[in-house]
């Protein structure tokens, strides 16, 4: 299949970029620049630095396993993969663009196929007290993200006009200083605009609803990669262009991030639908990313970027697993399951690994990232640091409740005939599990690369202060 090949090639290219990125040199590498619209100063300028390199790799990995997970889609298969690949194109584009115009262009490209993917291949669900149709999920998601884009677009144009150098090039724009008031206003635009995509509280409700409606691979890409676009936008565009704005709004971001963490965890605890649990856990985990950004410390931001990577892999694994279970059981209500580990051994084992990553077990990638975020947060504000740690403990509560209820206990007769994941699915998810463990045990290669990207960014932030 073409998409499998494309997925593999993407992964290999991403790996190539990742391995060949020279962290000792730092800065932007693999750059490429052609003028596109000279009159407007738009140019095709791509390149990766320490922050985007792991994101590119993340996209490659999630895409790769997403393609294999959606192997059994047989409704308009071709269209599905076309849209999926378009989405991935957009995502890659955002991560490598060094030109605001193209960054925005790819950003939209990544967001819009989502509507069709969810609307056509999604699933509606009815709950005891309310119902969510797939159309509702798709519409809500798209409207939210477009609303975010509007803010971003306005701010982008404002920057372009204010800079007055007839260029959309991020590197050029970064060199200029912007007036304080301008920075305050438009950093907020970026923070909220991109923040919507990152699940920033209280603009997060699209995310659980969208996940519930979306098909498996889309959920994977969506939570795994797309939410990272928002976070990436905040750090690359927001913090990169507006150091003073970032400092002014850091406390607000810290508060919102902490709310994300705790609120998401508590909400997840009350959910009865597998996908809602994971959806809210995504909200909670993206909170760590935002908290990390808000520390404005090298350690914290490093942790946040690693958390973006780690959460991407982890949540993709979660959704893949939920998809596998749903494909066989056709329900996702936690209350109905009991003891299915007996029939789905591999799935249960993988779910445990994902769950443990989620609750920050050392030896898995989540711990390293969260630890760094906490270290950074403690240096900024002990109180929010403590809340963050408590949030991690709450994660343990809902994850373990879920594991215990769904997978453990006596096998209920209803699930006698359940089958375990197929070889292909096991392979796709095994890749993700391996990455989680690798990063958890040996984060050195990641940290070196991320560090080389974060240090100059924070350095610029602090020189302004």
């Amino acid at each position: 299949m073409v998409s499998a090949t494309a997925g593999s090639i993407c992964l290999l290219l991403s790996l190539y970029v990742f391995i060949n990125y020279r962290y000792t040199i730092g800065g932007y590498q693999f750059t490429d620049q052609y003028p596109w619209l000279k009159g407007l100063g738009v140019s095709w300028h791509v390149g990766v630095d320490g922050i985007s390199t792991p994101m590119v790799l993340l996209t490659g990995i999630v895409m790769f396993s997403g393609v294999f997970i959606s192997w059994n889609i047989n409704k308009r298969t071709k269209d599905f993969f076309i849209l999926l690949l378009t989405l991935v194109t957009g995502v890659y584009g955002v991560f490598v663009s060094l030109d605001l115009f193209f960054l925005f262009f790819f950003y939209e490209l990544a967001v819009l196929p989502m509507y069709l993917l969810i609307g056509v291949w999604g699933a509606s669900s009815t709950f005891p007290t309310f119902a969510r149709t797939k159309e509702y999920g798709a519409l809500k998601l798209t409207l939210y993200l477009v609303a975010g884009s509007v803010l971003v677009w306005v701010a982008l144009l404002a920057v372009y006009v204010q800079a007055g150098i007839n260029s959309f090039d991020i590197l050029e724009l970064q060199k200029l200083g912007y007036p304080q008031g301008f920075q305050y206003l438009f950093y907020l635009f970026f923070m909220i605009g991109f923040g919507i995509l990152a699940g920033l509280w209280p603009f997060h409700t699209w995310s659980p609803d969208g996940h519930v409606a979306a098909p498996t691979a889309v959920s994977m890409l969506h939570a795994g990669v797309l939410m990272k676009l928002g976070a990436y936008g905040i750090i690359r565009v927001g913090m990169g262009l507006f150091p003073e704005g970032a400092q002014t709004w850091a406390p607000a971001l810290l508060i919102l991030g902490t709310i994300n963490v705790v609120y998401g965890a508590i909400s997840a605890m009350a959910q009865r639908d597998l996908k809602y649990v994971i959806g809210y856990s995504s909200v909670s985990h993206m909170g760590y990313v935002l908290m990390g950004f808000a520390t404005l410390k090298v350690v914290g931001v490093n942790g946040a970027v690693l958390q973006m990577f780690s959460h991407g892999i982890m949540t993709a694994l979660f959704f893949a697993l939920v998809g596998v279970v749903y494909d066989r059981a056709h329900v996702r209500d936690i209350g109905i399951f009991e003891g299915i580990a007996k029939r789905m051994g591999t799935t249960a084992a993988f779910f445990t690994v994902a769950g443990l990553t989620s609750l920050g077990l050392p030896g898995l990638s989540g711990f390293v990232a969260e630890l760094l975020v906490f270290v950074g947060t403690f240096q900024t504000n002990v109180f929010f640091g403590i809340l963050g740690v408590i949030g991690a403990a709450l994660t343990a509560v809902y994850i373990l409740r879920l594991l215990s209820k769904v997978f453990f206990g006596p096998l209920s007769p209803r699930w006698e005939k359940l089958t375990d994941a197929t070889k292909l699915e096991t392979f796709a998810m095994g890749v993700l599990v391996a990455v989680l463990i690798f990063v958890g045990v040996y984060p050195m290669p990641f940290m070196r690369i991320i560090d080389s990207g974060v240090v100059p960014l924070i350095g610029r932030l602090l020189t302004v202060a």
Binding site: T205, I266, K297, V298, P362, L400, M444, M447
Partner: protein
């Protein structure tokens, strides 16, 4: 005697490393290996035990040292994995490797025929690796990492028979409860890091001793660290998980929930003792919690009927006792107690396991007279029971007396008296299962009971041997007896290489603590064996007390109520808030408002072509006029 060619301290990392390797091998290749990989795990821990002697020998001839490698760097910090080789860590190495080795061998017999035999040994190996890493860790970060890893091994092993709902719930409860404590530990560590910019223990301790950290913060940090220890070591009020943890296979209870992991809390406090020394209030907290725990544990152990739960509450009480000793400044005494306790408590569990394995029952009321059927089990169990009760010359006697001396010297008479009460109670509660299970009349349904195979009894005998002799380490003549260098005199001297502190031995205290223990055993004999005082009549006489005890002071119910009424209610409330307020009002509300506005505004659209044309024309004109006026 130079030890150039022999493995020395710098090889110590291999001890956990081997077990970790064993874990990886079993996970990936287990099904294809003979014995599903069980031999791999046992070989690894066995080699670890051998290596331990080399490390010990090296330590005796040289000074404590640390070794580390960089895990990863982040900005100006460098996070390291390192190990510290000092008497404390080597002592723990010895305890963990020996007990783990014995128990893994025992498991070969106990777990025989289990469908997940290989997985059991994989997790056992992972546990051994993390526990050994925990005791070797030279910085708080690695300590926390391994701390969590032993926690997850405990989770996996408690929930080993996950098809049982109770096992799955117990595993969850154990992990979540200890996790509560871990939150404190992590916060404590992070505050230290914020203050000093390092996780390295020796640096932190030096700074604390120098007074670089303000007293308030130091006390806070010490209490937070102790919170971690409370979770792991099942101290009141976080002790509730340990009895439930008995859902796991019995060798697991012996290794993790008696000998090693639950002792990690005690080890942690001992390891961070330099912090506690300069934070006297924190030390008081440790002592008080320890005292409460030991009293609660020993009273509850009296009324339980499940054999394993009796021992579990006994473990809680003993851990409390160690904490009390630590809180009284009896650092060496607590560690001595930790060591001897590891041997005799593991032995008690293995004995219980042997009984359960053979009778298939756990309730002591259904047992009796088993010593004829299983003599080895009976003898070793009784040895362990006597050691626990603290009769000379068994190991428990020495460790208990050292702890009592520390408590007497540091605490008020009331605390001391209560500690003696705890000693009395522990002898009484251990007498109960010993008499009820092994003596008296053999129940007919247990007629098929038989002695366990040698693969189980030999480790028990080895542990019994250790339970008998390990107390003698306190004496100063032990070192010279083995021809060891002059530094090594006795236990205290070994632990305090820097400031030699021999063990004191108070004859008076020894005499009356022994008398107390004998009195308790005698009372137990009268009640449970002779039946001179019927347990039932006591139960009736103190019906109210009994009910409270059987219900574990209602703590489980209390927590359950909190979880149901407060935590879950709150989370439901938040979820509802999210759906109703944030989503329905905030999100859908906006959408509805937009739709409503459109609905209203559409009446301004006539649909008549020339209306639009007129609007265009007028609009254009207007713009032109405005443009003119402006320019």
């Amino acid at each position: 005697m130079p030890s150039i060619n022999l493995p020395g301290m710098e090889w110590a990392w291999l001890i956990p490393g081997l077990s970790l390797l064993a874990f990886a091998i079993i996970v990936f290749l287990g099904k294809r290996l003979p014995g599903k990989g069980s031999y791999v795990a046992i070989t690894a821990i066995g080699l670890g035990f051998i290596l331990f002697w080399f490390v010990l020998k090296d330590l005796l001839y040289s000074r404590p040292a640390t070794f580390n490698v960089t895990w990863f760097d982040v900005s100006k910090y460098s996070l390291k994995w390192g190990m510290i080789i000092d008497p404390l860590s080597v002592l723990m190495l010895g305890v963990v490797t020996s007990v783990a080795f014995a128990i893994q061998v025992y498991s070969l017999g106990y777990m025989k025929g289990d469908p997940r035999f290989g997985w059991y040994f994989a997790v056992q190996a992972l546990f051994a690796a993390s526990m050994l890493g925990l005791v070797l860790a030279d910085n708080f970060l690695l300590l926390y990492i391994t701390w969590e890893l032993v926690g997850i091994c405990s989770y996996l092993l408690i929930g080993f028979w996950y098809e049982r709902r109770s096992a799955a719930e117990a595993a969850k409860k154990a992990f979540v409860t200890t996790r509560l404590g871990d939150v404190g530990l992590l916060i404590g560590i992070l505050i230290l890091f914020k203050q000093l910019g390092t996780f390295d223990m020796s640096t932190i301790f030096q700074a604390a001793q120098r007074g670089d950290i303000s007293a308030g913060i130091l006390t806070l940090v010490a209490i937070l660290i102790f919170l971690g220890a409370m979770g792991k070591s099942a101290q009141f009020p976080l002790h509730v998980w340990l009895p439930d943890a008995m859902e796991g296979p019995t060798p697991v209870s012996a290794l993790i929930h008696a000998a090693t992991m639950v002792a990690a809390g005690v080890y942690l406090v001992a390891r961070s003792f330099p912090l506690f020394e300069v934070a006297p209030y924190a030390l008081d907290v440790v002592a008080i919690i320890g005292l409460l725990t030991t009293l609660i544990g020993s009273t509850l152990a009296l009324v339980m009927t499940d054999l394993k739960r009796i021992i579990a509450y006994s473990t809680i009480s003993k851990l409390g006792f160690m904490m009390l000793a630590l809180g009284s400044g009896g650092y060496a005494a607590a560690m001595l107690y930790l060591m001897t306790h590891a041997f005799f408590k593991a032995l008690l569990f293995l004995g219980a396991g042997s009984v359960i394995h053979s009778t298939g029952k756990q309730d002591i009321r259904e047992m009796g007279g088993l010593w004829r059927k299983m003599p080895v089990t009976a003898v070793t169990f009784i040895v362990a029971a006597i050691a626990l009760a603290g009769l000379p010359p068994l190991s428990g006697f020495f460790s208990k007396d050292e702890a009592l001396i520390a408590i007497r010297d540091a605490q008020s008479p009331v605390v001391y008296l209560l500690a003696l009460v705890a000693v009395f109670l522990s002898a009484l509660y251990v007498a109960r299962p010993a008499f009820v299970v092994f003596f008296g009349r053999l129940k007919p349904e247990n007629a098929h009971a038989h002695e366990s195979p040698p693969v189980m009894t030999v480790p028990m005998m080895a542990l019994a041997f250790m339970s008998i002799i390990s107390g003698f380490f306190v004496f100063n003549w032990v070192g010279p007896l083995f021809g060891l260098p002059a530094q090594f005199k006795g236990f205290g001297a070994f632990l305090f290489l820097e400031h030699p502190e021999a063990f004191h031995f108070d004859v008076m205290l020894a005499v009356y603590s022994t008398l107390i223990a004998i009195a308790a055993l005698g009372l137990g004999w009268t009640i449970y064996h002779k039946g001179l005082i019927s347990p039932a009549s006591i139960m009736e006489r103190f019906a109210g007390v009994h009910r409270v005890l059987v219900n574990k002071f209602y703590m489980d119910d209390f927590y359950q109520a909190i979880i149901n009424r407060v935590v879950l209610a709150f989370s439901n409330l938040v979820a509802l808030f999210d759906r109703r307020v944030v989503n329905d009002t905030g999100v859908n509300g906006t959408a509805n408002l937009t739709a409503f506005a459109g609905y209203r505004l559409r009446y301004h659209e006539t649909g008549k072509f020339y209306d639009y044309a007129l609007a265009i024309a007028l609009g254009t004109t207007l713009i032109v006029i405005v443009a003119f006026l402006v320019t």
